[in-house]
């Protein structure tokens, strides 16, 4: 299992989701993507994108304006 780190800080909606989507496209089932972002819209958009594509948000931590998501890659049915 590999953990990938994606830095989407200072990028605005929908770029954090696009960065996540691009990383997951090249990841394997079971891999984890750690996504860092600062756009408040990500709080809604990242979990929504994961639900739509059936990936799992393992955790979501916020500190001031920084958000860190850990996402497990599932099979894209």
């Amino acid at each position: 299992m590999t953990t990938y780190h994606v830095n989407a800080k200072h990028l605005l909606c929908p770029m954090p989701v696009i960065k996540l989507q691009e990383q997951i496209a090249s990841a394997q089932v079971g891999d984890v993507v750690e996504l860092m972002c600062t756009d408040a819209g990500s709080l809604h958009d990242v979990p929504a994108w994961c639900r739509v594509h059936q990936h799992t948000v393992l955790s979501m931590d916020t500190q001031d304006s920084l958000m860190v998501f850990r996402i497990q890659v599932n099979a894209d049915f």
């Binding site: 929908p14 819209g41 809604h44 958009d45």
Partner: protein, 349 residues
């Protein structure tokens, strides 16, 4: 999804029409996945996220929200670089502002054709309605989009299909024409009725469309940028900064981007390392970026304008710092704020 099930890729804007078109196909047992293209000019949650006064507004991405409500996968595609040629050289020209709607729609359908071929899908759907938009959604321009994009009769518009010749999916019986619609015109009543029939109680209704290029104020800032740089081109930061702040151009070689409130100041502060910037030190005031070049003879003028937009506007003297100016150390200037009447109206872009 069964192996015989036909697959449609839907262009999803996040508005009601594409939402209905996608559901209409699902009702006919078509597997639907959505595409949403990010050009850099999309009116979305990011603009709400910048301004503090808008922070109570929903910051959701409407296309994603639609995908979740209707139940299909959404692929968001970054087309910022490719889109430049559409905006800079539209073969069908612009609409009322800098909106190249017809070329834009052909471009997006063409991208959908590529995606359809790469992902083994069968046809493309959009939420277009004849007469809904003055440029791209007319009976005479819809065939142009189908032809120029290369989609031809693989492009199905479920909401107005009955007003158009049958497409391949209809002729082949993949979808039943009897269950498509004949909407036309600007009235939203048929869409609202269909939304109710599908049980959609909530949907986005963006006033003035979902693109900054349809906005007169934004378009004038964009044309000003090109005119004063002497080149019709842009980077993503250029077009993001046109969405923020008060823009004042005293001369051809520089303009000031003045934060109007805390949210904009926070956003502009992310550009401080890239831009010469000014701020008041004796009174509370805005962060101001300089787009262009400040010459020696401009320093006083720029500082006086910044002082004008600070809380020291009525003071005899305001201290202004000019920072990150190329080939010049950061400096403090004590200046008299410009009076409102000393800023000509044509400086405001």
């Amino acid at each position: 999804m069964s192996s015989s099930q036909k697959k449609a890729v839907a262009l999803i804007s996040g508005g009601l029409d594409s939402m209905l078109a996608a559901r209409c196909m699902q009702e006919q047992n078509i597997h639907v996945e959505g595409l949403n293209f990010y050009t850099g000019f999309c009116v979305e949650g990011h603009t709400h996220a910048i301004r503090k006064k808008d922070q109570k507004k929903s910051k959701r991405n409407n296309a994603l929200w639609v995908a979740e409500q209707v139940g299909f996968k959404l692929h968001i595609i970054d087309v910022i670089e490719e889109y430049k040629s559409v905006l800079l050289n539209p073969s069908h020209g612009y609409g009322a502002n800098m909106n190249p709607c017809l070329d834009c729609k052909s471009f997006m359908v063409k991208k959908a054709v590529q995606w359809m071929q790469q992902n083994d899908f069968d046809f493309i759907i959009t939420g277009e309605v004849i007469g809904q938009r003055p440029m791209s959604q007319r009976k005479d321009t819809m065939p142009v989009i189908a032809q120029e994009s290369g989609a031809n009769d693989l492009l199905l518009r479920p909401l107005c299909a009955l007003n158009l010749p049958p497409t391949l999916p209809e002729r082949e019986g993949w979808v039943s024409r009897d269950h498509l619609y004949g909407f036309n015109g600007r009235s939203r009543k048929p869409q609202i009725a269909l939304a109710a029939q599908y049980g959609f109680e909530e949907y986005a209704q963006p006033a003035g469309g979902c693109c900054f290029l349809t906005d007169a104020s934004y378009s004038s800032k964009l044309t000003d940028l090109w005119a004063n740089r002497g080149v019709r081109d842009y980077e993503i930061d250029d077009i993001m900064l046109l969405k923020v702040g008060r823009h004042i151009r005293p001369t051809k070689h520089y303009k000031l981007i003045i934060a109007r409130e805390e949210g904009e100041a926070n956003f502009l502060s992310g550009y401080k390392k890239q831009f010469t910037h000014l701020f008041t030190t004796s009174h509370p005031g805005p962060l101001v970026l300089v787009d262009g070049e400040l010459h020696e003879e401009d320093l006083q003028q720029a500082a006086r304008i910044v002082a004008r937009f600070s809380q020291g506007r009525d003071a005899d003297s305001v201290d202004v710092r000019i920072a990150n100016c190329p080939n010049r150390a950061d400096g403090d200037y004590a200046v008299a704020p410009l009076a409102a009447q000393d800023i000509p109206q044509d400086w405001y872009i």
